[in-house]
Point group: C2
Chain length 277, copies 2
């Protein structure tokens, strides 16, 4: 499977065809499909990988119960006119002798990284592998995982990988909840309450635009708004950040990142907005 | 320079030309030129990089005084019929924002790794970058840096880089001393004494072939032989190792690695032999 993918990629490369790549963990939703659509519009060949990457899950995280739906995924990708589905198995990706890691320091320790040690090293390692196998000209990632996009861009630049990293806007439910495969974990009551994340970001974005208050006050209001929702059991982070360094903003730049991560019961939800002045 | 190299590599790739790559730190000697010769015989285009990589030198090591001879190198490469000399500068390779590292665990901590913390991570990071820029089909490394070749092979396999790593036999002076740019540091007396490294390896290899003694005894005799030379100020390691894992051998396998690292004054010298039964 791996060898077939490599040979196919090479053949397309030699024929001068551009490969657009959408790496996913499956359980595909409209967010993923918007990435496929964008790749379809920009590249000759669209490759989608489905791989629930054990390396990016920490101990006690949801690797085992992460939603899997290979039949449904396959059908959705057919309809979205993806050309190639690459679904390697973990044993081939990580044989026993495996011992190489790609790490992006600093950026990987902030925001989600502080709560998921090793997570982003797992992400950059697998993305580096997948880029080598698939050889894309462009790779497509959702803005929902904003930190991930910043880290992958840094890796690509630092390692001279020559892949264009395209960030595609977050797709949301009508009530504002960002699409995520993990939304399937939510109870009906949690699902009903979950749009508070987006509402909190929207309210904060108004304040950023108006520069109605300093970042630290906006952060405090975000925390307060989230904690008013009794189904939120923990606010891991919420606040105003520099979109390049992911550090907490002390003043407003040209572009501001609003980002948050909360737990609703055992489900971890993240969301973010970029606000331009 | 970097962009030019990338575009050139891509052009050759699209034309179906095979690129053979010899990464070096310059101060070229016959050892390097044997790599170029091998690449020349196997590939359409031969690229040689010269880059004294700061990332692989530790504090207090010889980065500053490492021999540099760009004029002489250029001439040697012309004569050896290399096609492209790629000599990037450190500021382009490592801009201020640089924060990505490629590390191969376990293998990188053994032998030289124990005495040069961070060294092999510096090597794998730069080789990963160079492979992305140069896009070789095959890359050529000298057996003199045996541990380096094992680590790079592991990286290439783990990260699905699709580069063939070719290991070329060590080139030696008539008296047995392995060629190394660092031999230039040796005083006349040290230079005269230095062949004790190769003699020690040869004597040990006879014992391995005859299985005359268990590995631990051969190791002891190697240490004793080296320490008899008064100009050797430190034996960092010397012994019998598994050529795949680089761990100390407790019994003889099909293939045995004999390896050593010593200091002669301030000069660090390494050498090794592979012994087949």
């Amino acid at each position: 499977m791996l060898r077939v993918m490599q040979d196919t990629a090479k053949r397309h490369l030699y024929q001068g065809k551009s490969i657009g790549f959408v790496p996913t963990m499956g359980a595909l939703h409209e967010g993923h499909l918007s990435l496929v659509k964008r790749a379809r519009s920009e590249c000759d060949i669209v490759v989608v990988s489905i791989f629930v990457n054990p390396l990016q899950f920490g101990q006690g995280e949801d690797f085992e119960r992460y939603p899997r739906d290979s039949e449904g995924d396959r059908e959705k990708l057919l309809r979205a006119r993806a050309d190639i589905l690459f679904a390697p198995d973990a044993a081939a990706q990580y044989p026993e002798s495996f011992s190489t890691h790609v790490t992006v320091s600093a950026l990987s320790e902030r925001l989600c990284g502080a709560f998921r040690p090793g997570h982003f090293s797992g992400v950059t390692t697998v993305v580096c592998k997948l880029f080598h196998i698939v050889r894309p000209v462009s790779a497509y990632f959702g803005q929902k995982d904003y930190q991930q996009t910043v880290i992958i861009k840094r890796m690509v630049e630092d390692l001279n990988m020559g892949v264009e990293v395209v960030v595609v806007p977050t797709v949301r439910e009508p009530d504002g909840l960002a699409l995520s495969s993990r939304n399937a974990y939510l109870s009906p009551a949690e699902r009903k309450a979950a749009p508070v994340l987006y509402r909190t970001l929207l309210a904060a974005s108004q304040e950023v635009k108006a520069q109605a208050a300093p970042p630290v006050e906006i952060k405090a209001r975000m925390h307060a708004a989230l904690l008013q929702e009794s189904l939120i059991s923990e606010v891991q982070y919420a606040g105003v950040y520099d979109p390049a360094t992911l550090e907490e903003a002390t003043e407003f730049g040209k572009r501001t990142l609003l980002a948050l991560a909360v737990k609703m019961g055992s489900t971890r939800l993240i969301d973010n907005l970029l606000v331009d002045r």
